[in-house]
Amino acid sequence: MRDVLAFLLSGGAIGGILKILPSSALAKEAPRKGKWYGFGVSVDKCIGCARCMEACKTENDVPREPFFFRTWVERYIIRKDGEAVVKAIEPNVEAAPDTSGDRSILRSFFVPKLCNQCADPPCAQVCPVGATFQTEDGVVLVNVKTCVGCRYCIQACPYGARYLHPVTRTADKCTFCYHRISQNLLPACVEVCPTQARIFGDLNSAASPLTRFRRMNKIHVLKPALNTEPKVYYASLDGEVR
């Protein structure tokens, strides 16, 4: 009887019955068999050329206007007085003129950003109609046929990875180029990156380049305190990056 009571009073019962815990459709732990996709970013290797931004928009028919991005690259300039200046780079724009002698810069780098394909996605948790969901292999997709365009998922994403597609009027975001990875191709951004700053692989596979990446580097994720369990792993991520 005590055990029953204990169970009833525990969050497990409340969470399970009311389903206030993330929906059972989300596979939190990596499945033992099959693929579980992840992504690696080497901040030290990114040269901020924006080939990835171009390729992503081309491959996925993302609107060309600078208001909709499935992936983007941020540029950080940390000055000697500690102030951090951040901006998102624009693709196909002539590089900034020679800023030689800018003596106030302490360190400066580029950080690619994309959907983190969280293992515990807050976007899928809040979707009222179940239009955004996680596949068996760990990619979060949006069902363009059932999305009602309420934009709750866009509000719930801590990383700003989602936008409302102006034509379909449904939510849209990076899918790890699901149509490519299902044919054993690389996502478009990984394909065109000239410095291998972006790495894609199967977290369940010992033979993927992602495994070496995770072995040789100290790994960070964005906003770990929010417990979204992102699957985009950053090496050499600076503390100023949000």
């Binding site: 009311l18 389903k19 206030i20 815990l21 993330p22 929906s23 609107p63 206007e65 600078p66 208001f67 909709f68 991005f69 983007w72 941020e74 951090a84 200046v85 951040v86 901006k87 998102a88 950003k113 807050p122 948790q125 809040v126 979707c127 009222p128 109609v129 179940g130 239009a131 059932t146 999305c147 009602v148 365009g149 309420c150 934009r151 709750y152 866009i154 509000q155 719930a156 994403c157 801590p158 990383y159 700003g160 990875a161 989602r162 936008y163 409302l164 102006p166 034509v167 379909t168 009027r169 449904t170 929010l226 949000r242």
Partner: protein, 419 residues
């Protein structure tokens, strides 16, 4: 690609301060989503006022009972409109009933709304008006006769047992209705409060603060409507009733103010990472709407005015007109204050970047579905519906044939007034 959208967003680009994630330039929840919690708030507040009569037996506010129920109904009928208008695909809204995601508070909207409308509000109004409708249909002719006949579901039973059952049923429904009203508006607060990505919204106090500000706005609106409608029908305003209702309003505003003040102090004291950008946002983008309108004009000033009428009771008891005017100003200011509170929560939560490094702007449209004109229509619509309801279900017509009506007043007279 809509040229309109491109143009709007391009105009916003130079107004960005600092850094925002590139996708954050488009503010997704705009004026329509500000209107929605305001409308459901009034539903909850008006219903709580009605329940003061039925459950807590506060006899002084009896004259407001039917008016609050009808106000709640008028606003409830309009409530889904801003949501439907905002959806990217309103034609798919039925999906929330067919494949609701149980972990989503928004999915619960359809069910809570349906429950509250069908099982609480409509049934309560039906029981209140049933015997009246029977009496009216007997005397009237033509369209009104049939409207009342149909609405009363062709019932004819006016026996003692039937009327006492009506009383019991009303009490039960109101008791069920109070938590239902809390749920109807509390879940709206939860929709915001549970978003961990947004530190302006993510707060345990959010559902409770929403609920209490809802009670404030609902009670204030019913008082406002009562003070406007009663003279229009040729009757005299029952000041004892208004005084009592203002009492409750006063306490509700104090609780609401306390909750929001506690939230404010808590944020500043804890001083977490987001405090810098949030402070900057409040002092620059939200200064007028939050500090001036919501707090000073919408809460502190009405509190002060009502407080003054309480302190200087003697002077004000004599000068009834002055009291009426001060009450009227207070409840009007409160409406603006509570509407602006919704604005500050919804729009404010999107004015700062989740990178905590920048601020953006919301440009309110005038035309179009997210525009001011449509919002004004949506805010006026419940009043139009209320006018129709007041014609079909007048709240002050007494039963002619029985000695007492459901509310215990004597038939054929106007509501009691105080000299």
């Amino acid at each position: 690609m809509s040229h309109e959208l491109t143009r709007t967003l391009t105009e916003l680009l130079p107004q960005i301060q600092g850094y925002i994630y590139p996708n954050e330039i488009e503010v997704h929840w705009g004026l329509l989503i500000v209107v929605y919690p305001y409308i459901t708030g009034i539903v909850a507040g008006a219903f709580i006022l009605a329940s003061l009569v039925k459950v807590f037996n506060v006899k002084e506010v009896q004259p407001l009972y039917r008016l609050s129920l009808l106000t709640a109904l008028s606003y409830l009928l309009v409530a889904p409109l801003p949501l439907l208008s905002h959806l990217g695909h309103p034609e798919r809204c039925f999906e929330m009933f067919l494949t609701p995601q149980p972990s989503s508070a928004m999915a619960m909207f359809g069910f809570v709304y349906a429950w509250y409308l069908m099982a609480v509000l409509l049934i309560e109004i039906w029981f209140v008006y049933r015997t009246d409708m029977i009496a009216w249909s007997d005397e009237e002719s033509g369209a009104m006769k049939w409207i009342h006949k149909v609405l009363s579901l062709f019932s004819r039973d006016r026996s003692e047992s039937a009327i006492s059952f009506d009383h019991k049923a009303l009490k039960t429904i109101t008791i069920i209705g109070i938590p239902s009203a809390f749920l109807l508006h509390g879940y709206v607060g939860f929709i915001f409060g549970s978003v961990k990505a947004n530190p302006w919204w993510s707060s345990v106090l959010m559902p409770i603060a929403f609920l209490f500000s809802a009670i404030v706005s609902g009670v204030a609106l019913v008082i406002l409507l009562y003070m406007v409608i009663t003279p229009l029908t040729g009757a005299k305003i029952n000041m004892k009733c208004v005084d009592k209702a203002i009492d409750f309003l006063f306490y509700a505003v104090i609780v609401d103010f306390t909750l929001e003040f506690v939230d404010f102090i808590h944020r500043i004291y804890q001083s977490e990472e987001e405090i810098k950008i949030l402070s900057e946002m409040v002092m620059s983008k939200l200064f007028m709407s939050l500090v001036i309108i919501q707090v000073l004009l919408g809460m502190v000033l009405p509190l002060g005015i009502i407080g003054v009428t309480k302190i200087f009771k003697k002077r004000f008891t004599l000068n009834e007109d002055l009291r009426k005017m001060l009450y009227f100003i207070s409840v009007l200011l409160i409406q603006f204050g509570i509407f602006t509170m919704r604005w500050n929560v919804v729009i404010g939560g999107q004015m700062f970047s989740k990178s905590f490094r920048g601020l953006t702007t919301y440009k309110m449209e005038i035309t179009g579905i997210e525009g001011l004109l449509y919002t004004l229509v949506l805010l006026a619509l419940p009043l139009v519906i209320l006018t129709v309801l007041l014609k079909i279900l007048p709240p002050w017509k007494e039963l002619r044939e029985e000695g007492k009506d459901l509310e215990g007043g004597t038939p054929g007279t106007l509501p009691a007034t105080e000299a």
